[in-house]
Subunit: 220 residues, 2 copies
Amino acid sequence: MARRKKTVASPRKLPEQDRSRATVDTILAAAARILVRDGYDAFTTNRVAEKAGVSIGSLYQYFPNKDALLGELMRRHTHAIEDGIEAMAERAKSAPLAEVVRIAIEHNVRAHLVDPELHRVLSEVPPLGKLDWEAAFTERMVSRVRDAFEAKRAEIAVADLDLAVYLVTHTVEAVVHNAVTERLADLKSGVLAEEVTRMLVGYLTGKAVPAKRSARAAAE
Amino acid sequence: MARRKKTVASPRKLPEQDRSRATVDTILAAAARILVRDGYDAFTTNRVAEKAGVSIGSLYQYFPNKDALLGELMRRHTHAIEDGIEAMAERAKSAPLAEVVRIAIEHNVRAHLVDPELHRVLSEVPPLGKLDWEAAFTERMVSRVRDAFEAKRAEIAVADLDLAVYLVTHTVEAVVHNAVTERLADLKSGVLAEEVTRMLVGYLTGKAVPAKRSARAAAE
DNA sequence: GTGTAAAGTGAGCTATTACTCATGTTATAC
DNA sequence: GTATAACATGAGTAATAGCTCACTTTACAC
C-alpha cells in the first residue's frame, strides 16, 4: 500500500463514448474476477488493469482511487439485488405474519444467490468493511421487519419487540449467508427457508408450527 | 506489504529469562491494543514494536514473521476461552435437551465475553481469516452439538438432524457474535440467552416453550 | 480535412511495509 | 573476573503498493 486516505468519491471522469463505457465495464469485470478468484490480497489496481487489458492510467481516469473501484463494484452488485425489493415489501404489507417472515427470508436468499461468490467476498472485504456494506442490507431488513412486526403486534407473543426483530433478522442473515457455502442445495430447494420460517414463526407466535409435507406445496 | 509467504511457524527463539518473557508479553499486548483500537490496517510490525517500546529487532527475535505474531495472539485468546469447555461438555451429557441448548449458548456467550473487542477483531482479520479461526470455534461447537443431539434424538422433532445442527449452531454463533456490539446488555443479563434457548428448543421439540420469569422479570 | 476533446498509455515517483544484520548491552556460569 | 550466551537495538534493504503525468491515439463536429 502506498496511500489510502480518500473515501469513495465519484468517478474522475464520466465515460461519454461507448468505447470508454466498455472500458469501465471491463475494468469492473476484471476487478470482480480477481476478488472472487484470488481474494482481496491480490486485488491491486495494477493487477486489475493488467487483467482487464488496459493501462493503469485508464483505470485511474475513471476511478479516483482503489476504494472507488471497490465502491462501484458494490454499488452495481447492490443495484442488481434491489430490483424487486419494493415489490416484496408491498406483498408483505397485506400478508399474515408467517408470510412476512417467509418473504423476508426469500428476499435474503435471492440477494445471496445473485453472484454468490462476489457477494461473499464483498462482505468480507476490509476497507469499507462488512460494517458499511453487508450491514447496510441487514439494516434495511431490520427496518422493514420492524414495521411489519409492529403492524402484526397482536399476533406476536414476544414481550420485547426490539429483541424479536433483532433475533429474526440476524438469524436469517447469518443462516442464509453461511448456507451459500455450506448448504447450497437446501438454500436453492427452499427446504432451508421453510425450516427457518417454522422456527421463527413458532418463536414469534409462541405456538408450534407444524411442518409441511416436503417440497413446499402452497396448497391449503 | 513487502513479503508474505510463510505460515505461522514457531517462535524463532524461546524466551528463557524473565526479561524476555516480559518483552514477549509487552509485544503481544501492544499488538492487541493496536488491532482493537486502530484496526488491522494499522497493525504493522514496526508500529507494534514502537507501541510496545521495543525495537523491531526484538520483535523478530521471538516472532519469525507477522502472521506468527497474529497466530500467537489467537492462540492465547483461544486458550483463555477454552478453560471450562470440557466441564461444560460434561454437564451437557446428562442434561435434558433444553439444558444442552442452554449450555451451548452459555459457552458461546462466555467465549465472546473474554475480551470481546479482541475477539471481534480477530474474527474479522484477513490473513488466517475467519475461515481458519472463528470457524474453528463453530466447528467444535457443531461436533459437540451433533453428539448431544444424537443422544437425544427421540426428543427432536426435526426430520433432518444435520439441518437442525446447522441451524442451531449458526444461529447461536451469529446472534451472540453480533450481540456483543449490538445488544451487550441483553447478552450479559442472560435475557438473550434465554430467548434464543426458547426459540431453538421450541423448534427442535416441535412444541412451544413457555417463557420463564427467571433472571429479572420478577412476579407473575 | 482540420481542430478539439475524449480515451488510452506506461515509465516511474513516493510511500510504506515486512524483515535483516552488524553491533551493543545485560545476565548467568564458572 | 571473565567468558559466553541471552537479550536488545535500529539504520538499512528489497519488494511492492497506489497513483501521477507527460504524452500518443482515436473519435467526433464542422
